[in-house]
């Protein structure tokens, strides 16, 4: 047997690093595996398409004019002309439903932006600065939270008049508290992580640490919370419209449709069930997506 010659340098085995699944790819994969979440996503995609295309569809004649009243066929059941029937003013329910999606989705999703701006900033500052600043901001947040949200929104909308913008602003201003608390909690825990410490050790400024380390790592739970916030906002808007201080007629909103349908519930129970159903499905879909995202983003369940 030949003796080994004094060793030639062993090839650098550290050279080869097997490529592994990227972070977001992993999230996507895990999300895909959750059937309910995927179903929810499909529904949401359809709703979004509906919201965007409703106008177009009306133009090409696939759906009716939601405002046009056909006084001769009020409270009719489903028929060939009006697939979901008509309401108490003879307006086509289906098209009102489809246009209503616009309102719900717009408010539901865009309101999250206000949450992020107000709640996110407050939470970030409180968590990062700590000490007295944190105390002050959190007490302020607690006080804000103490106001019952529906009443608060009602007050704001009454003061500023019911319009899309004021509803939007009202919901946003009232409900950012949860996000603020979440962001603060995230920041508090990430702040203590060794990689943030090492960022300081290599001379990164506070601004840089917040932007490059805190924000990307806090994103996961924030996205989940925002996703869950959408159905909550949708519901709030529907409640407002139902109470009459939300979207004003003749603009179709699911909340208004419930109010209208409720008035006529004995004459035609259809009119209240369709919008209620729409709200329920929408809220459920977003909740499923939120659940799916939460599981998919959970670092402990990585594969």
């Amino acid at each position: 047997m030949a003796l080994p010659i004094p060793a030639a340098p062993v090839e650098e085995v550290d050279w080869d690093v097997p490529e592994q699944v990227g972070l977001w790819t992993d999230v996507w994969r895990r999300f895909r595996r959750n059937r309910l979440a995927v179903a929810g996503a499909v529904v949401v995609v359809i709703l979004l398409a509906d919201a965007l295309l409703a106008g177009l569809l009306q133009q090409i004649g696939l759906i009716q004019d939601p405002i046009k009243q056909h006084v001769e066929i009020t409270l009719a059941g489903p028929s060939a002309q009006h697939l979901l029937g008509t309401d108490y003013l003879g307006r086509d329910t289906l098209s009102r439903l489809m246009y209503g999606a616009r309102i719900s989705l717009t408010i539901g999703i865009l309101v999250q932006a206000i949450y992020v701006v107000i709640g996110g900033t407050i939470g970030m500052i409180a968590g990062y600065a700590g000490g007295r600043v944190d105390n002050l901001l959190m007490r302020f947040t607690d006080i804000w939270y103490a106001f019952p949200d529906l009443l608060f929104v009602l007050v704001l909308v009454s003061v500023f008049g019911p319009s899309l913008l004021s509803i939007f602003a009202a919901i946003g201003i009232v409900n950012w508290v949860n996000l603020a608390r979440l962001v603060r909690g995230q920041v508090l825990s990430i702040k203590e992580k060794e990689y943030v410490e090492s960022a300081r050790a290599v001379g990164s400024s506070h601004f840089k640490i917040v932007l490059r380390h805190l924000v990307p790592n806090a994103l996961g739970p924030v996205i989940v919370t925002l996703t869950f916030g959408i159905p909550a906002a949708i519901f709030l808007e529907a409640a407002l419209s139902y109470l009459g201080v939300g979207i004003q007629p003749p603009t179709p909103s699911w909340g208004v449709m419930i109010q209208d349908g409720y008035q006529a519930i004995y004459a035609s129970p259809w009119q209240v069930t369709f919008p209620a159903f729409a709200i329920a499905i929408t809220m459920l879909s977003f909740s499923f997506i939120g659940d799916g995202l939460r599981d998919a983003l959970d670092p402990r369940m990585r594969q």
Binding site: L3, A7, V13, D14
Partner: protein
Amino acid sequence: MAGKILRIEDLKTQFFTSRGVVRAVDGVSLHVDEGETVAVVGESGCGKTMTALSILRLVPDPGRIVGGHIWFRDRDVTTMDAEQVREFRGNDVAMIFQDPMTSLNPVTKVGTQIEEAMTAHERFSPRDALERVIPLLQRVRIPAAERRRQDYPHQFSGGMRQRAMIAMGLANEPQLIIADEPTTALDVTVQAQIVTLLKQLNSELGTAIMLITHNMALVASICTRVIVMYAGRVVEEGPVRQIFKSPQHPYTWSLLRSVPRVDEVRRSRLVSITGMPPDLVRMPPGCKFHPRCAFRVDRCSDDEPALDEVGPNQVARCWVLMRNVPQEAARELEAVTISRDVVEELKATAPDLEDVADGS
């Protein structure tokens, strides 16, 4: 004549993952005699912990024992049904884990947990179990045992928790204790206490100990026989003095020389094994250590060697064997690891540092 209380024959434990089949334990055979202290050493991923878990049928999902036998005296553990396994665990063989905090129930008093360990196997009546708790705690040198048995785990320090675990392990007078890195999480002075305790238990009670660790110094302190594992298989085995004095497998040899000693500075550089342990899903052909081995020959990448006898009671799985390696080759391993020109390049591009001295 000491009998064999544990005999593992060609054990294979595998994990079925989306990436492929992980061959965590790939044909391991070993034995433990009555009253012996055996070390199973190796680094992460070598399969030593999985072997221990297989013995107790504690292999977690998605893993399974897929082949081989584990004989405890004359019973085959691999063919036991759930009831028999439950009776076997904690009774004839007990296991001590690395982190006692997670192995102890935080909401139950320590004394109660020890009692439960006894009554669960119905070897002792509840009354007898109660009476045995204090002597057990005293045997593991927990001071003020009468008071301490009423405490909860979080009221114990790390070292004492580990002793409590040992007490639980001893409760049913097992013939074999498997200790998986029992001192890694402990302070050095506490480690010494646990090591002394284990040695006493072995000499006073005759309990066999299988110590699983990567700490060669611990092995030298406690054990009489060493089994070295790499990539799910045994690569060397022998009496402790022989293994430490003349290891034949290059991995064992490198491992022993990569550990600094506290009592002397023999050489100015440690031997480091380049690279990393193999991917257990896609293992290299031939000898599993050959990609990292500085002494390999052509044959090593083609054929996997079998465990051959290389000395009295010593076996090794290697075509070359360290005794056939000339001294100069061994010394080559102490060469500098970083390349000169990269250093020069970096110095050239880095700014001068004098400015700091004058405060700019």
